[in-house]
């Protein structure tokens, strides 16, 4: 069964460093999402991406964040200058368009900012 994959599974970085989180969505899916979950809290929406552009973003998704689909398979989230409060679990999701509304989630990347 096809699945969303994410790399790395765990990333440790120093405050102020740039990080890139990578996702490979399901191959025939065209709508992509990033969510994050701070430890002990609920999952929150960051950004959605369709047709090579951002379709919606939350207040959390400020100028420090950017997303890109650099090729036909990868979908990346870049944090330019990490802060301590960026420490969280980051989930990528994808959805088939058209088709259903179900979103398929990857296993997540745990980001730790020291």
């Amino acid at each position: 069964e096809p699945e969303v994959t994410q790399t790395p599974s765990h990333q440790v970085t120093q405050m102020g460093q740039e990080v890139i989180l990578r996702c490979v969505p399901i191959s025939n899916h065209l709508y992509f999402y990033w969510y994050r979950q701070i430890l002990g809290q609920k999952v929150e929406f960051l950004v959605s991406f369709y047709n090579n552009e951002i379709s919606e973003k939350s207040e959390i998704f400020d100028d420090q964040f950017s997303v890109e689909r650099p090729d036909g398979s990868n979908f990346t989230l870049k944090i330019r200058s990490t802060k301590l409060e960026d420490s969280a679990m980051y989930f990528c999701a994808s959805r088939e368009v058209p088709g259903g509304n179900e979103q398929f989630f990857g296993p997540g990347t745990r980001l730790t900012v020291l």
Binding site: Y31, Y33, Y35, Q37, Q41, K42, V43, E44, F45, S48, Y50, S55, E56, S58, M89, F91, A93, R95, V97, G100, N101, E102, Q103, F104, F105, P107, G108, R110
Partner: protein, 108 residues
């Protein structure tokens, strides 16, 4: 935006017991998903159930969209069922809004 409330916030069960988790939402939706977050933090997709009833082994779910709630049933619980259960809802092509989750602990 849509508000999602899950109850109970915490639940402790003996192995073999049954349980019902509830998700209430504030607006009409056409996407509702239940997830189980395992101890490693991974979100495991349990059900896509914007309406109706589905069953998968010991788990089943029912969504009554007109009354804006969904129920997740766990029967004959096992210690591996422990973790946090999230309900998430959405409208159209929009994002998912998650509830705060129900933390389930199943003791042997």
């Amino acid at each position: 935006g849509i508000q999602v409330e899950q109850s109970p916030p915490d639940l402790i069960l003996q192995e073999g017991a049954n349980s019902t988790l509830r998700c209430n939402f504030s607006d009409s939706v056409n996407n509702l998903q239940w997830f189980h977050q395992n101890p490693w933090g991974q979100l495991i997709n349990l059900f896509y159930i914007p309406s109706g009833t589905k069953q998968n082994g010991r788990l089943s779910a029912t969504t009554v969209a007109t009354e804006r709630y969904s129920l997740l049933y766990i029967s004959s619980s096992q210690t591996t069922d422990s973790g946090v259960y999230f309900c998430a809802v959405g409208n159209g092509y929009s994002t998912l809004t998650f509830g705060k989750g129900t933390m389930l602990l199943v003791s042997p």
